[in-house]
Symmetry: C2
Subunit: 320 residues, 2 copies
Amino acid sequence: MKILITGITGMVGSHLADFILSNHPDHEIHGLIRWRSPIDNIRAIIHKIHLHEGDLHDLNSIILLLDEVKPDRIFHLAAQSYVTFSFRVPVDTLNTNIIGTANLLDAIRIAGIDPLVHICSSSEVYGQVTEDEVPIKESNPFRPASPYAVSKVGEDMLGFQYFISYGIKTFRTRMFTHTGARRGDVFAESAFAKQIAEIEAGIKQNPMRVGNLESIRTFADVRDAVKAYWLLLEKCTPGEVYNIGGNRTMKIGEMLDVLKGFAKCRIEHKVDTALLRPSDVTLQIPDISKFQKETGWEPVIPLEKTLEDLLDYQRKKINK
Amino acid sequence: MKILITGITGMVGSHLADFILSNHPDHEIHGLIRWRSPIDNIRAIIHKIHLHEGDLHDLNSIILLLDEVKPDRIFHLAAQSYVTFSFRVPVDTLNTNIIGTANLLDAIRIAGIDPLVHICSSSEVYGQVTEDEVPIKESNPFRPASPYAVSKVGEDMLGFQYFISYGIKTFRTRMFTHTGARRGDVFAESAFAKQIAEIEAGIKQNPMRVGNLESIRTFADVRDAVKAYWLLLEKCTPGEVYNIGGNRTMKIGEMLDVLKGFAKCRIEHKVDTALLRPSDVTLQIPDISKFQKETGWEPVIPLEKTLEDLLDYQRKKINK
């Protein structure tokens, strides 16, 4: 089986490649990379996978790629995925996440192939919910609170529309917060872990800088997340959408406390208003019963393990 | 008061300018036009309005425009608005309708002005509904069945997000089918009227070509529609979304019969499969009670008058 992963150099894409190599070593893994994509996350497996240069902004390159590879399954993970940054680059975010997805879906039509396609939407589409609206079901209304969230509504709806209009077998997920090693430094938990590792190493002083600690999130380990994505294309229904997320719900501040518990020295923190978003969402608790019913998936990695591994990842990056 | 209309050269934009000139002659009307925009629809009023060259794809031109005009109200009507064409040009449609709207909203922030902004979403966002889901409320789910519909979901959600994130006073409408004189020839009712006028004039032979006649639509006159848009910014609530539409519901085929009733000779028609969309929506009946409660708006122009005026418009175009 031939599998194409867009965004293979990212946290989720690289963990997905790891998962497939470990569990289905007979499958061929192809990845789309852009000129100058950092490849740190896939350096260890680079001889076992096939990388193809191209860019989702350029329809031509995607058609050429699909003609060449003819993938049976596509995991479309490439995105501008940093919510806070999307307020600075709204048009780039909309372009990459919406137009990029349109190009991929159009290229599938043009190449005349019939793959299973994972479209990676996000829990951010739900935005601010009230207490009587949680846990969040797939039928909750869209209230996007960032350009990123708007872009994921667009990507999600394109996945639906190309299924309705052309029968392209799209499977949409709205994944809630997921993290672990290789998480980009711009995301809260990774920024926390990085600063702790730097303070441990003596290259940074207390206090570390943090943003909004009051938001409530349900956390999953990225390794559980990629297992869910694999099961999605194995067992779910094309055209449908699924909420997926972990089972540990807490405030960002509590997650910070867990991380601090692993630190080798005393860590102090201070809220930096520059890290607060113009609008934030605060009650992201998923109802994942639809997905569980079709797949039997359960998150199994405890959050403590996830955060410990993330901290170790940041420590190793410093010592490189 | 200074009013900016994007899309002023279109059917709706030009009728809105007519409405404001007739009812509020003391207001200043400004319009955004692109290089080579056809100006037939505004030729009669061109000396009474202020036109500014620019393009929604180019953020710079919109910032310059807003800095110069500093409008109190903006009606954002510019769009790639032809559903069938959007299947051929999905990326252009997404670009114009989503990125173009992001540029307008960003330009408002950058210019530091605080206008009332009409964001023109569409009933197409609802897509296919079941019989127990009509009449369609604002809370109905999104099921976009065309790239145009996806683009309007994106535009709609941007209007919401920029209100939530920055307090920009956006008022979103989801207008159902509206038509009349100046309707582009690519839309069903205008294509019908044009062909009838051509057969009457002897420059085309029977039968005329038609697409899907089974879809059910609720029709409004464009002159009632622009009155609704005016009331929207006068009386409604920023951040909210409103369904608006007429009160005459029928199949496209019945609308064709009304048009044929005005013809000066016998008209035959034939379904042309090339005019059928890859996916179509068939049960677009609005619940407009939210909008009516806040504005008291009622559609008053009978559909027969609308269609007669549309046919006269097509007859006059032939004789030009």
